[in-house]
Symmetry: C2
Subunit: 125 residues, 2 copies
């Protein structure tokens, strides 16, 4: 994947945000920051980054995709602030064990799981 100005800009914007953002929010923030990039390109780049495992994708309650550049590429979950998007990366053996045990108990294979916490962070409350 070529390192174009636009792709670098998207990555920087994600880092600057340091939180979950929708593609459109990111696009707006980039425009404000003077790094204008087409909305289509933002979508494409985010998807490419997601496919490459460089960003995590979640869905808000109303189905919008939100993206975040995470510190680790390893499997983890998130504690996300509903109001500002700030998030903490958390891992939990308990959850992993629960997922594996439950899947086996009911004879399901190829099991993946999602486990995210949504709340209000200290700063926003």
């Amino acid at each position: 994947m070529k390192a174009t100005r636009q792709r670098v800009a998207v990555r920087e914007a994600l880092d600057r945000a340091g939180a979950f953002r929708t593609a459109q929010a990111l696009h707006d923030e980039m425009k404000t920051a003077g790094e204008a990039v087409g909305l289509t390109t933002v979508y494409r780049t985010l998807q490419a980054l997601a496919d490459a495992g460089e960003v995590d994708v979640l869905r808000t309650a109303d189905g919008e995709a939100i993206y975040r550049r995470c510190a680790t590429g390893d499997h983890h979950h998130h504690l996300v602030c509903r109001s500002c998007g700030a998030s903490v990366e958390v891992s939990s053996d308990e959850v992993e064990r629960w997922a594996a045990a439950t899947a086996e108990l009911h004879g399901f294979s190829d099991v993946e799981h999602t486990a995210e916490l949504y709340g209000t962070c200290r700063g926003c409350s």
Copy 2:
């Protein structure tokens, strides 16, 4: 809420399915079953049922809403088959404890959580 033919039909279709369904899939199944109801009404009814806590709503990976009439109104999670929508309702004190503890540790308030397992059920594999 008035008990109209349409609302009864939606509820019956959900029960008949016994699994997670999109609004459109449900609409198709109802048409096939000869209980034609407008798509708009299916959407409205599902939303009303969801608001009333009578059905659970999840989001597929691509953002579509899927609905299921659950046996219990109590808080629980799901083990869902990606291919046929069949699902098992599961609860887990472990997950609840983990969610509460993690939220408190990071000073988040008003925390809700989602925790769903997606796999392939015995019948589909």
